[in-house]
């Protein structure tokens, strides 16, 4: 078992702990049992020897029975019993009667072995010669049902220890789980674009509080660096737009005054280039706006399937002018929560992509259906497609595949779509339409 998860580690620990506890219990049981048996055996031997007596004191049954009676009178020997049997197994006397024929030497007698007598005990059978057998028994249990009582003590004692340990493990596990869940929630929020989220810091100076503080300091630093980077790129996009707009204005004025058609055409081409650059900076700023996550506050319920159908229908005329066929396939009603403007822009971008990167005469098919991940819009073309190893490049900002480098577009279309899908906690996937490219946009169901 790999001890990587909290659960498997806890189970392994618990099993080891239970094994050790049960082992300890059994060991204690065996050791005490052996010690008690040894001590009782000594007592039995001493009593047996005293009753059998030295040969000088007389070894006739009557002598022995007299000594048994004398022994019985003593206070500290109530748990010792004797039985004298002759060669034919007839009971001659004593204060106990055991049904079973015990072997010579030490053995254990159980309660059911007696016809009348004592509790569980140790027996010593001695052959006194002439067929006479003296059985001496001493109780092992200091009181009745001692063994059951001892088992109960073990169960209660060790059981409560085990319960305390399990409760501790659960409490410890919950504490760690809660901390990890808090970290995960914060991380998820940050992935979703909420860079202001932080871990709650408990007032104590414990390890968890220190870890939370360190984590939060790391987030502060990352936020600082990120805002530095995005400020730089936004400032560049923003500050370059102003001189570019002046340049465009100047070109416009010159074009209005241009007196020869070639000059006018050249100036208009220059204006188109300026517009292309402006659109590129606009896209950079748009991505920054989407990534800021503020627009999520304006999400509204809308039907993504109907939106895909409307946008597809709207783009059909533009596709026809470019000699491509745009087919609006079945579009199921797909209620989602989202930003209508951004989803429209994402759909237009992907459809434009399909029209732009396919040869004339190609077909682009738009469809919408429910998928396991949520509402899915599919835009598939029968053009050359994108090789699997180039798909990542196609998603990268300014990432342009070689064959399309000379065509229109600024390499920010798919990154913007991806940012929009991320804002919706959805996804953008490039797949093989065999032949062609299939783009799948998924927005999770609300």
């Amino acid at each position: 078992m790999a001890l990587r998860s909290l659960r498997s580690l806890t189970i392994a620990f618990l099993l080891a702990f239970l094994a050790a506890t049960i082992g300890t219990g059994l060991a204690i049981h065996w050791v005490t049992q052996a010690t008690i048996t040894g001590l009782v055996d000594q007592r039995v031997a001493a009593a047996s020897k005293a009753v059998a007596g030295p040969p000088a004191a007389g070894s006739r049954p009557a002598d022995i029975l007299r000594r048994i009676a004398a022994f019985e009178g003593r206070l500290d020997t109530a748990d010792i019993g004797f039985m004298l049997v002759d060669g034919e197994g007839r009971l001659l006397g004593g204060n106990i009667h055991i049904r079973r024929r015990l072997p010579v030497g030490f053995s254990t007698v159980r309660r059911e072995d007696y016809r009348e007598g004592l509790g569980v005990g140790r027996a010593l059978v001695r052959d006194l010669g002439g067929g006479l057998r003296l059985t001496t028994v001493a109780e092992i249990e200091p009181f009745d049902d001692y063994d059951e009582a001892r088992t109960r003590i073990y169960l209660v004692g060790f059981g409560s220890i085990v319960l305390i340990v399990i409760a501790g493990l659960i409490a410890f596990g919950l504490l760690i789980k809660r901390r990890i869940a808090a970290i995960r929630r914060t991380v998820d929020a940050i992935i979703d674009g909420d860079m202001q989220r932080r871990l709650p810091v408990e007032p104590s100076r414990g390890e968890f509080a220190q870890q939370a503080q360190a984590f939060n300091r790391m987030l502060d630093r990352i936020t600082e660096l990120m805002s530095g980077i995005s400020n730089v790129s936004n400032d560049i996009a923003h500050d370059l737009r102003t001189p570019l707009a002046r340049l465009r204005g100047q070109l416009e004025r010159l074009a209005a005054q241009a007196d020869t058609p070639p000059l006018r055409a050249g100036l208009e081409e220059a204006i188109a280039q300026a517009d292309h650059l402006l659109a590129m900076f606009g896209a950079v700023l748009r991505i920054a706006e989407v990534e800021g996550g503020d627009r999520r506050a304006r999400f509204e319920p809308l039907d993504l399937g109907a939106l895909a159908r409307d946008v597809g229908a709207m783009m059909q005329a533009a596709a026809a002018e470019e000699a491509r066929e745009l087919v609006v396939g079945p579009c199921d009603s797909l209620p989602v929560l989202g930003d209508r403007q951004l989803l429209t822009q994402a759909l237009i971008n992907v459809i434009e992509n399909g029209l732009r990167h396919t040869p004339p005469g190609s077909r682009v098919v738009v469809g919408a259906a429910r998928s396991p991940a949520g509402a899915a819009v599919t835009i598939a073309d029968d053009g050359p497609g994108i090789a699997p190893d180039q798909r990542e490049e196609a998603m990268r900002r300014f990432g342009r595949l070689d064959k399309s480098r000379n065509q229109a577009g600024h390499g920010l279309g798919l990154p913007l779509v991806e940012a929009i899908m991320r804002l919706h906690r959805g996804s953008l996937a490039l797949e093989d339409a065999g032949p062609g490219l299939k783009v799948v946009l998924v927005v999770p169901a609300p």
Binding site: T242, E252, E268, I271, G282, R286, R295, E352
Partner: protein
């Protein structure tokens, strides 16, 4: 149709360029550089419209706007902003701006928007639905349009486009304005869908004969002739 305009903009270079270009459109432009000066200029003088920057030293654009509207000054105001985020646009329009443009803005765009804003002021607000432009009649409520009394079969979007052109008859509407007003987009797709739909509209409007009623102003936009 020269107007008397007040430009409140702290970027001197940008303002100088705008002033020069707006003058080329025969407007008379007074330029001030902060919000306080803007309010004072409006106290002292009458303007046909105000072009107001969002970020200004000493009293920002929205505060100027709110102050003016609180004083019942109804002069048309176009907000200029560097950011162009839709939340800001909503705030500007809610504060009482007539229009909102993102910098950098071409003087031709600004000129067209000024014309549309002034024109919009002349409509009888809430006036009944029929729009007339020459021999074209549009009923946005019934989703119907006629030319010379003959019905024209238009899609929903085409009808909205024609209605917007008819509402601003003889006034230039730029592509950006049409995208905002007809498509309700807050972005510009790289496919020129406005041009595509204007072409379709032209085909349908001239199918039963008659001149093309839509004038193209190169690099600026379109205008329906009355």
């Amino acid at each position: 149709m020269g107007m008397k305009l007040l430009l409140v903009e702290d970027d001197q270079v940008l303002a100088a360029g705008l002033v020069e270009q707006l003058q080329a459109f025969e407007h008379q432009v007074v330029h001030v550089v902060d919000g306080r000066q803007g309010l004072r200029a409006l106290d002292d003088d009458h303007f046909d419209a105000v072009i107001l920057d969002w970020m200004l030293p000493r009293l920002d654009g929205v505060s100027v706007l709110t102050t003016l509207r609180a004083r019942d000054v109804t002069t048309p105001i176009i907000m200029l902003s560097a950011l162009g985020q839709s939340a800001e646009k909503v705030r500007g329009l809610e504060a009482g701006a007539d229009d909102y443009v993102v910098k950098p803005v071409a003087a031709s765009e600004l000129h067209a928007r000024l014309g549309a804003v002034l024109r919009a002021r002349k409509w009888a607000r809430g006036g009944s639905g029929m729009l007339r432009a020459g021999d074209i009649l549009v009923s946005p409520e019934k989703f119907r349009a006629w030319r010379n009394g003959k019905a024209i079969d238009l899609s929903h979007l085409e009808l909205n486009l024609l209605a917007e052109l008819a509402r601003n008859v003889d006034t230039v509407l730029t592509r950006a304005m049409l995208l905002e007003r007809v498509w309700a987009y807050d972005f510009e797709p790289s496919t020129n869908i406005v041009d595509v739909f204007i072409r379709r509209l032209r085909v349908k409007l001239t199918a039963a004969g008659g001149d093309d009623p839509i004038a193209t102003l190169r690099g600026v936009g379109y205008m329906l002739r009355g």
